[in-house]
Amino acid sequence: MPANTLDPNKWVDRYSDYLFNYTIVRVNDREVANDLISETFLAALKSAKYFKGEASERTWLISILKRKIIDYYRKINSRKGQAEVKINYSDDYNEGEWLEEQVADQFDKTAEDEMENTELGLAILECLDSINEKHAEIFKRKTIDGADTEAICNEFNITPSNLWVIIHRARTALAACLEKNWF
């Protein structure tokens, strides 16, 4: 079995969008997400010598990122001190109102959907791994960033018809990759 190897010079191009989307739904703050990803890359470099090649590069980076996210929450929790617990069910004047408070939060209804959408996003980015790196980059610029055709053509020095061929290949590959689980 061929062992996986690490190629740190490619990490940003290959995984940063994936790590970013993974982090942003968990910490909900772009700046914090960026810091955590930066820490993850540095920690990964430091422990690169322990990488056994059993997992893929991505899985390995995610496992480090997970620990960074947990550390982040530990840190802000200890800074906050003890959690505040508020109980006002014994309030005589407002007897019965607690029933209303017990009603499930509206957000809960969509929490599961949100989770599924995040997974979908990560699945899309993972599927993009299977196509040429440059093409994936162009596809992301066009589809996720919504950049102008002309701007992309200038940036990558290609013609519009090149661009549409690349987009076509990327979309076909992506649809085939997602078909099993998401279509």
Partner: protein
Amino acid sequence: MSNKSKFFFIDCSEAAECCNKSQYKEAKFFDKVRLMFHLTFCKTCRSFSSKNSKLTSLIEKSKIQTCPDENKEQWRKEIKKELVEERN
């Protein structure tokens, strides 16, 4: 094919291009009409077209973002620096 029929008939690759462009709202009106016409008799393109639209809605639903280029550039620098230090 006469010029007149070329006006309405497009082949599958042109249909695919128009279909892709319309996913980004960049297809011209008349091209879309020709695509519609093509889809009425081409089963392969119909299937491609429906998958393509589905893909667009999945991507929208997923709300994926890319991280800003400045951050990527900064990370690249950090990694490079660390690798150089390690070597020394």
